[in-house]
């Protein structure tokens, strides 16, 4: 038994998780587009799909981080999450300018930005990690999709127009608050979404790593963190969209969180009794 955890033994292969996460996230984001098909003036009842898109992307993201960080990049797992969302937010905001094609454009732009950043990290900085470029591409896409999903959850749409259009709060007219200030971008709720996603993506692997790592436990923890982030974003959405539509998101996020938390607790108890004869940590180059 060796502690070198570079190759994932058993469990679901990474590419399966990649495809499932990407497809689920894109489908869920596009389901929020149903809001525009509702009769004019009705609340965006399908906004909660944005949160589910973020959860799906985070589920995939935790495994990508595991894939990359197994190589011992030396900078800590949180730095990978910050890199993911730093590049993701740039791709996502530019993509929102492309109307209904925004999610697809976000994936393409994030892939381009990720590819160049990965090339820089691997070749110019000489990291020489085999999965580096692929992982940074994936992480940029995940960052963009999570932010787009959370933005769609909070506003009911994913276009630049809906992200800068403020809430129709009853007090807005009386207080003479500029319309744009009470929006996802103008109120800088996007910065909160950035951190909600950035912590949720890196925490599962950071908490589960080690010789006792099991794939299903980490992935369930990723879902739990995702639903927790979705819950916070759903609570923030009360200020932006109709209360009824926001409450649907809150309830779905809360039920999802309770269920996954219970599941994670069971898995944690299952794994706690196991004991592994781990060898001393191998010397990593550069220390």
């Amino acid at each position: 038994m060796t502690v070198k955890i570079e190759v994932i033994q058993g469990g679901v292969p990474h590419n399966t998780i990649l495809v499932k996460g990407l497809v689920a996230s894109l489908v869920f984001i596009y389901l929020t587009y149903l809001n525009t098909l509702l009769p004019a003036g009705s609340p965006p009842y399908f906004a909660f799909f944005g949160g589910l898109a973020a959860v799906a992307a985070l589920w995939w993201g935790s495994h990508t981080i595991k894939h990359l960080c197994s190589y011992g990049i030396g900078t800590g797992v949180p730095s990978a999450g910050m890199m993911s969302f730093g590049s993701g937010v740039i791709a996502m905001l530019l993509a929102t300018q492309f109307g209904v094609g925004a999610p697809i454009v976000a994936v393409v732009l994030a892939a381009v930005i990720g590819a160049i950043l990965g090339f820089v990290a691997n070749n110019v900085l000489g990291m020489k990690i085999p999965v580096m470029i692929q992982s940074i591409i994936e992480m940029a896409i995940i960052g963009a999709l999570v932010l787009m999903g959370l933005a769609a959850l909070m506003t009911g749409g994913f276009t630049f127009q809906s992200l800068v259009t403020g809430a129709s709060l009853p007090l807005a007219g009386i207080l003479n608050v500029p319309n744009y200030m009470g929006s996802v971008i103008g109120g800088c709720l996007l910065a909160v979404a950035f951190m909600l996603g950035g912590i949720a993506i890196q925490h599962p692997f950071n908490a589960c790593l080690g010789p006792n790592w099991t794939q299903d436990r980490m992935l369930i923890l990723a879902l739990e963190c995702g639903f927790l982030s979705m819950l916070m974003a759903a609570i923030m959405s009360i200020g932006l969209i109709d209360t009824g539509a926001a409450l649907i998101s809150v309830i779905i996020a809360f039920l999802g969180w309770i269920y996954t938390y219970d599941l994670f607790f069971k898995l944690a108890k299952r794994d706690a009794a196991a004991w592994l004869d781990s060898k001393p940590i191998p010397e990593v180059e550069g220390h």
């Binding site: 800590g76 000489g126 800068v164 996007l190 910065a191 220390h287």
Partner: protein, 286 residues
């Protein structure tokens, strides 16, 4: 401090082919920016690249210890680059943004220096309390493992270093390095923010989305967009610089410091790329 003028070591040499490709990509990106945005975008992009270079260079000064430092087995502040740089950079960015907003005739230099002071102050407070906790909480003296004598004070180090460790605590040179790194990081973050803010304030009112808003109406959007992009670019530059030093560094006296030319090339490419994407948001509305 001779370390600053030193040439890159053989173990950390530049990859000429990859660097060449990167610089070509950077020049293409600058050309694209000029083509779609004109002079205002070009100046902003160059400012953003300079800001990114300041951040990447600043990270090399900051004594990042990581997990070994938390156990008192290596010198430095006991956390990762992403957290430290984000702390210093955001403190600087807030300071710089405040200095820009509070002036009646905003001066770029004053705002950028204020941002640098904000970042340096944050790092000074962090370094002070880190040392306070190391010395009075954990009961360990500050000693460097990489040099025999502190380059600034001339204090000898090996007598204070525990066996089996790489040193511990924050020696004086690391403390000074942390403050210098905070100054560079804060100034760089502020520069990126202000460059983006100027372009957004200029161009956003002309967009069809904001046809009735006017300059005052779009100000929250301009500030928030510039802020979130500046944070994103800050984190990318900080993490790339962290990759260059493989996660930990003691400060400007550390041999790893000599790897900084590589990080500057990487940072210029990354900042150029992100700058083009961030500026394009106002120039390519569909």
């Amino acid at each position: 401090m001779t370390a600053i003028a030193a040439k890159p070591a053989s173990g950390a040499s530049l990859n000429p082919v990859a660097s060449g490709i990167g610089i070509v990509v950077l020049i293409i990106l600058i050309g694209i920016m000029y083509a779609i945005g004109g002079q205002i975008a070009l100046i902003a992009l160059i400012g953003i690249i300079v800001g990114g270079l300041l951040i990447a260079f600043g990270v090399h000064f900051v004594p990042v210890g990581g997990a070994p430092a938390a156990m008192g087995q290596a010198p430095g502040i006991a956390t990762g680059v992403a957290m430290l740089a984000a702390g210093a950079g955001l403190a600087g960015l807030f300071g710089g943004a405040w200095a820009w907003a509070v002036q009646t005739n905003p001066d770029l230099l004053v705002a950028v220096i204020t941002g640098g002071v904000g970042g340096g102050l944050m790092m000074a407070i962090t370094c002070f309390f880190v040392n306070f906790i190391y010395i009075f909480g954990m009961g360990i003296p500050a000693a460097s493992g990489k040099v025999k004598v502190d380059p600034l004070t001339g204090d000898t180090q090996p007598e204070f270093k525990s066996q089996g460790t790489e040193g511990h605590g924050l020696p004086f040179i690391s403390f000074v390095g942390g403050v210098i790194g905070g100054i560079f990081g804060g100034a760089g973050g502020t520069l990126i923010y202000l460059m983006l803010l100027n372009v957004y304030q200029e161009v956003l009112p002309k967009m069809t989305v904001f046809d009735k808003a006017g300059a005052a109406g779009v100000l929250p959007i301009a500030i928030s967009l510039a802020g979130i992009f500046a944070v994103g670019m800050f984190l990318i530059n900080a993490v790339l610089a962290a990759y260059n030093i493989t996660g930990t560094i003691e400060g400007p006296h550390d041999p790893k410091f000599k790897r900084f030319p590589r990080a500057l090339i990487a940072s210029a490419i990354a900042s150029g790329l992100c700058g083009v994407a961030a500026l394009a948001i106002v120039f390519v509305p569909v």
